[in-house]
Amino acid sequence: MTHPTGSQINRDLLHPLFNTSWRFYLLVAIFGGIVLFGLATWFTQTVNGYGVTGIRWPVYWGFYVTSFVFWIGISHAGTLISAILRLVNAGWRRPVTRCAEVITAFALIIGALFPIIHLGRPWLAFWMFPYPSERLIWPNFRSPLVWDFFAINTYLTGSLLFLYLPIIPDFAIVRDKSTGLRRKIYGALALGWRGTPKQWHRLETAMQIMAIAIIPVAVSVHTIVSFDFSMAPVPTWNTTIFGPYFVAGAIFSGIAGLLIAMAVLRKFLHLEAYLHPLHFENLGKLMLVMALLWGYFVFNERLVTYYGNEPAEMSVYWRTQSGTFAPLFWTMVICNFVLPLILMGIRRFRTITGCVIASIGVVIGMWLERFLIIVPALGHKYLPYSYGIYRPTPPEIIVASSTFAAMALLYVLFAKVVPIISIWELKAGEHPSPELLPPATEEHRLGDLHL
């Protein structure tokens, strides 16, 4: 197999930016149409009242909050993984980092929409902002929802910076290769990048700082999302394990999302020379580790609840274990644990196809996990008289599923205007493709082992 060199890299990776095929328009039309349909549905919901959803007394959170946690979880793939891979200087990271970081940015934006979609009065969402208002009241800083607001905004700002910094030299490459208006726009985005040693030094320093700073932020974000649940005295919610459990689940689903995105990009943008089976295999191993960790957390959570034998908790416990929600629970276990364990644990299955199948399973399983945390507990709180069953209605299903189209749309548009694989990092890598790694130098070995 030959490996692309300087000009070949430019040609391959800049091709989608300068050439538009009918497929691009078709994809944008399809995904855009679905997104518009979702927005229209949300608009109808806002106009007609929240009653069009399946939310009811006492299950006041359903599909929207599930989707919120799910998307914030997906966002943990990108920046976090990319930051860790950069810090351990894993050589194979170079073609992967950008498509990972983009997932973070878009998944966060989509995830952050859900708290607004789910509000009873979404037009007042700005009351979460601490701004000097004529009402003379601040947001309630004791509320986990306000912590969410700050955590997500911090993470979004950090992730956007972390995404933007390594694009600057690539923007400059596009600027130098284009003319007219395009040159002006990319020139502005490149922030006057000339590639001087001083600029390179500053870029490296800034990225190093961001990579270190973003890791604790990422961990804190999903911990705080888990606080939305664990801070309330609801049976099976009020538990100390939720913080790490949610963070592990987030990274787990994030890797799955990243693997799916990489496989799609590889196929449609013809990046076979850049995204090698080895990348999928390495990320697959990471997903295997997270599957084991996830299984460990679920086992802990279930077993401790069972032995604690608190009546209200046990009623929720049996409801998920063998009652109404049992089919969903066991589907989740198969998708999140059995499937990745088989496909990622056996070397023969750890192929690109295997990774994609396992990832789709994990995405479904992790969505179910959030649903199973939220809905059964709210329907079975303490007083048997007020038990209730939640069933989603079409508007909720449409809005929640249209966000998958929104993710695809944003991704398609982004890949159209920004090289989806970092050009300069590929070139800067001494060994742009993993097969060319010198046999087991200590640094690369460590990088591979630690992923």
């Binding site: 006041y60 009351w127 509320s143 929802l145 005295p233 008289y385």
Partner: protein, 230 residues
């Protein structure tokens, strides 16, 4: 400063539901119709919970009028991002409708499921809109609402007593449910006043709080039903 509380004598409650009707009338709680009610959209600030015990034909039915327990340590309050749910100086869990943005977090945190969401704008079949209580604001779509211990009556009586330059008499304030209770199962008053009827009943050996172990310190005391075998 008073600490408002209620005592519910389960030995007296016959489950007639008069309190529920009175509450709806007093507090302008809109009804939603049978179809929406079956979908869990009914709003009953007070409800009579029915619990059956035993197998047919030896069935026993127990009633428990359940409303917001006006907790001293209320789980609904810290979780509200906009202070719509907050604690007043006299220990009430106030709900400021205009501040509510409808996260519904308070309702999830409430162990008693005493909070209700307005899924639609309120409406009444004509001519029922003419019976609305001018002392109670209507709630628009998208906010949470719940039992207030008829705060409009508390504040009204406080104002009257102040203008007349006297203390509030025990039993002078009656929330709608208490007023309507034909068996006098519900008693309302000031828990700080050790002589008040509600205070006396709250200290009764028959008394207990609902879900006491959740640690909410409710202001409502339930007096256990005395049965022959008990």
């Amino acid at each position: 400063m008073a600490r408002w509380g209620m005592a519910a004598d389960l030995d007296r409650c016959n489950g007639c539901g008069g309190c529920v009707v009175a509450c709806h009338a007093e507090n302008n709680i809109s009804t939603v119709g049978p179809e929406q009610a079956s979908r869990g959209r009914a709003k009953h600030w007070i409800r009579v919970e029915r619990y059956w015990e035993g197998d047919f034909p030896d069935v026993k039915l127990k009633f428990r009028p359940t409303m917001c327990q006006q907790c001293g340590n209320a789980p609904c309050e810290p979780v509200c991002p906009t202070y719509a749910s907050h604690h007043t100086e006299d220990g009430l869990n106030a709900q400021v409708y205009n501040r509510c943005i409808g996260t519904r977090y308070c309702a999830n945190a409430c162990p008693y499921n005493a909070r209700f969401f307005d899924f639609f704008n309120p409406s009444w079949e004509k001519p029922l809109q003419l019976q609305l209580n001018p002392d109670v604001s209507l709630r628009e779509v998208g906010v949470m609402e719940k039992c207030t211990f008829c705060v409009q009556r508390i504040r009204g009586t406080q104002t009257t007593a102040k203008t007349e330059g006297r203390e509030i008499r025990d039993g002078e304030i009656q929330p709608a449910c208490v007023q309507a209770c034909s068996t006098r199962a519900l008693v309302f008053g000031d828990l700080e006043d050790r002589e008040s009827e509600v205070s006396r009943l709250s200290r009764s050996p028959r008394g207990s709080k609902l879900l006491e172990d959740v640690g909410t310190r409710p202001a409502v005391t339930y007096l256990a039903r005395l049965t022959e075998e008990a």
